[in-house]
């Protein structure tokens, strides 16, 4: 009787680690034509919808003349903004009672009243004749590099509804004493220069002073313009109506009148004659000016010293923004999510999952490998889609002669990568839900309901703004915050809504919410994959 040795393969035993799992999953993804096509559809949808929107024309020019800081009359090339010291668009027009003062010194004044006029409801925004003061009407002390619009400055002021503020170089803003100013409740303000450092102080009684803040204006020339100012931004009350669309109620130029006394200079600054002039061009000539009687200065001002926020419903309404170019993101996400869901549900449908798990018995490793593959696929699709959308959108906008809201290349790169991260997380979420649900249609529907639908409801105004904001805080759609390109300036009244590209959460917070949902779904998926028979 002979014993027959069983056959042994001469090949070395195969390794079964994460690298092999990754390689296997990558091969699966790469070789299914439909998935590659799906990912490409995602890229095309993301870029194509954005291009469609940016090529769709910007003919809504009626509002530009009213709200535009330049009072431009044509949309084609008429919109342009003054640029601030950091290159951002700013408004810089106000009434200025000034004198040039060299070197270091200090200026102090008391504000006893800040009143104003608002456009009446039926004047069509053309005249200002209703008593009332705009929330961000401001008056106080300013030190400014020169009289050119957009030059560097630091100012301490009372704002109608926002107490004492120290503001500098258009975007900087710090709060001081709260409360509205009035004859019974005056505010003392002081601005001190020491080299490049400007320090602002406030006081309720002129005896007890507190420092509001100190800012550095790099490169401020020795001789700077110092004095009193008054400005009152245009009034525009945008509201998003239930069921879509925005409406602008009222709107138009406003005016404020501030009364100052006890004006004094000290330190190295001598007392000198004061000159009044308007920086920029007032929207209603003749309504601005100042008069001095005794020690009392009364200034009437218009305009604003502030950044111009990007987006629809604001002064830059007609300028194309990066948010516009990226409007196709949700369409791209739909395709990417379908592919990511199919990457696991197709295995269940075809029974391939049993072969996969037989070959790679460590189920957690399989899920991890699959997650990495779809995350990379989603990231690449998002990067390409957003990159094409932004670069081509800009090129088209420029080629057609429309105005594109200025943005730094760095911010552009950040939002493109942010979109790629959003797509990567959405893909992993879809994969995790697919592993839990194991049905392709139900998975896709679920992922769309949790990511795309909240975004849509918030974006299109189908829900009240507050409800939409909450959806963008707590659902995975919070990840869309990665797409906020422009900072929201709380010192400028505007409707900072999702359709203008402003989200209720900061980019990192939105990403954290999306990541938390993804991690939770992935953990549940890993648990169920281990516990259930495939």
């Amino acid at each position: 009787m002979t014993t027959i040795a069983p056959y042994r393969s001469p090949a070395a035993p195969g390794k079964n680690g994460f690298r092999q799992a990754l390689h296997a999953e990558l091969t699966k993804f790469r070789t299914v034509r439909g998935w590659i096509i799906g990912a490409l559809v995602g890229v095309l949808a993301m870029a194509g919808v954005g291009l469609l929107a940016s090529a769709g024309g910007h003919s809504a020019c009626q509002g530009v003349g009213v709200h535009g800081q330049q009072g431009s009359n044509s949309c084609q090339s008429g919109i342009s903004f003054i640029l601030g010291p950091n290159g951002e668009p700013v408004s810089d027009s106000f009434y200025f009672v000034r004198q040039p003062l060299a070197g270091d010194g200090s200026i102090t004044v008391r504000v006893t009243s800040l009143t104003g006029l608002l456009p009446s409801a039926n004047s069509g925004g053309q005249s200002d004749n209703v008593p009332g003061v705009e929330a961000w009407a401001k008056a106080g002390l300013i030190i400014k590099e020169n009289l050119a619009q957009g030059s560097a400055y630091a100012a301490i002021m009372v704002a109608a509804d926002h107490g004492v503020r120290l503001q500098w170089n258009y975007t900087g803003d710090t709060g001081g004493l709260a409360g509205a100013v009035g004859p019974a409740n005056p505010r003392w303000l002081r601005l001190t220069r020491s080299g490049d450092v400007i320090t602002g102080y406030d006081s309720a009684d002129g005896a007890h002073w507190s420092q509001v803040g100190a800012v550095t204006l790099a490169g401020l020339p020795s001789a700077a313009q110092v004095g009193l100012f008054a400005a009152s931004p245009d009034d525009s009350q945008s509201s998003q109506s239930f069921g879509g669309g925005t409406s602008t109620i009222g709107g138009g130029p406003t005016r404020d009148t501030a009364v100052f006394d006890r004006l004094s200079t000290s330190g190295g600054w001598p007392a000198g004659p004061w000159t009044g002039q308007y920086v920029g061009t007032p929207e209603i000539p003749g309504s601005v000016g100042y008069h001095q009687s005794g020690g009392q200065f009364t200034l009437s001002g218009q305009g604003d010293i502030a950044p111009v926020p990007a987006g629809h419903g604001g002064p830059a309404d007609a300028a194309a923004t990066v948010s516009d170019y990226l409007i196709g993101t949700f369409a791209g996400l739909l395709a990417v999510v379908v592919v990511a869901a199919l990457f696991v549900t197709a295995e269940y449908r075809r029974g391939l999952i049993r072969l996969t798990l037989a070959a790679m018995p460590s189920r957690g490793r399989v899920l991890a490998a699959k997650s990495v593959v779809v995350a990379v696929a989603g990231f690449i699709a998002g990067l390409l889609g957003a990159g094409i959308a932004v670069l081509a959108g800009e090129a088209i906008t420029r080629a057609r002669g429309y105005y594109a809201f200025p943005i730094s290349g760095m911010a552009e790169a950040r939002v493109i990568v942010g979109t790629a991260i959003l797509a990567a997380f959405a893909s992993v979420l879809a994969l995790a839900i697919g592993t839990i649900v194991r049905r392709s249609a139900a998975t896709v529907a679920t992922v769309i309901v949790v990511i795309v639908l909240p975004y849509f409801l918030a974006e299109s105004g189908a829900l009240p703004l507050s409800a939409g904001d909450w959806l963008l805080r707590i659902t995975p759609a919070a990840g869309f915050a990665l797409q906020q390109v422009y900072p929201a300036y709380h010192q400028v009244s505007m409707l900072y809504a999702p359709f203008s590209g402003y989200f209720p959460l900061a980019a990192w917070a939105g990403l954290a919410v999306l990541a938390a949902w993804t991690a939770a779904a992935l953990a549940l998926a890993a648990y169920l994959l281990r516990r259930r028979d495939a």
Partner: protein, 263 residues
């Protein structure tokens, strides 16, 4: 045909998932509608019609946005499920007249969607009728309080039921054409959401208005509008006609593809 209907009805009826989804469609619609009604509050300016611009019927039927996803999912699965597990080959062997089978399946699916929609809309109307007057949207402030007793709200309610049924038919046709449930639901929801998002951002008002006139969701939901009907780009029934045209187009596409292609 009646045999085909009976067969399709048996298939749909005996799947546990169908009943859960129909129930989910109604429950989610009612829940979201009630939540939207409860979340409504008048702006600080005041509560009159001019100050809020609110439309009680639109608020009361907000849940349609979520409900339509489930309704579409039901329709997608009704045909996509057969392609997923190969059942379609058995169906077409038993009923070689493909258009008969397609029509029977579409009718049964639409009937299911219609039943769920009636439940969803009735529940939403009830919730809105109970909640909204307490939120200031009452006759005292110049609104026509949400109630199925007046013609406009009745039109909104019946139209919403028809809208949801048409969405089911749209989803059914699209999924028959693509033969895959995941792609089907993705495309349907893409079609529904694409137009309103684009028209919300393009600054060209005329183009945005045209897009809204073409959009199956935006135009179709004009049927819910009871305040400011004159400002709409289309009349409510014309708007629902747009959705019907989309559904008809999808059904024709699906039927043609089913007829011409191997399953």
């Amino acid at each position: 045909m009646s045999l085909a209907l009976h067969a399709e009805w048996t298939k749909l009826r005996t799947l546990a998932g169908t009943w859960w989804l129909l129930l989910a469609a109604a429950a989610l619609t009612i829940a979201v509608s009630a939540a939207a009604a409860a979340a409504f509050h008048c702006p600080p300016a005041g509560c009159t019609l001019q100050q809020t611009g609110a439309d009680p019927a639109k608020i009361g039927f907000t849940g349609v946005f979520l409900g339509q996803v489930v309704i579409a999912l039901i329709a997608v699965l009704a045909i996509g499920g057969e392609y997923g597990n190969g059942m379609i080959r058995l169906t077409l062997t038993a009923m070689p007249r493909r258009l008969t089978a397609f029509t029977a399946k579409a009718l049964v699916t639409a009937a299911g969607a219609l039943a769920a929609s009636v439940l969803a809309v009735a529940g939403s109307a009830l919730a809105g009728w109970l909640i909204l007057p307490g939120k200031g949207l009452s006759a005292a402030n110049g609104y026509v309080a949400l109630s199925l007793g007046n013609a406009a709200d009745l039109r909104a309610a019946c139209g919403t039921v028809l809208y949801l049924t048409l969405i089911a038919l749209l989803a059914f046709g699209v999924t028959t054409a693509v033969r895959d449930s995941a792609a089907g639901i993705g495309i349907v929801l893409g079609i529904l959401l694409l137009f309103p998002i684009i028209s919300a951002v393009i600054p060209d008002q005329a183009l945005a208005r045209h897009l809204e006139q073409l959009a199956p969701m935006t135009a179709g939901l004009y049927i819910q509008v009871t305040e400011g009907v004159r400002q709409l780009p289309l009349t409510p029934w014309q708007g629902l006609g747009v959705t019907a045209a989309w559904a008809a187009g999808a059904l024709i596409l699906g039927a043609t593809v089913l007829r011409l292609r191997d399953a």
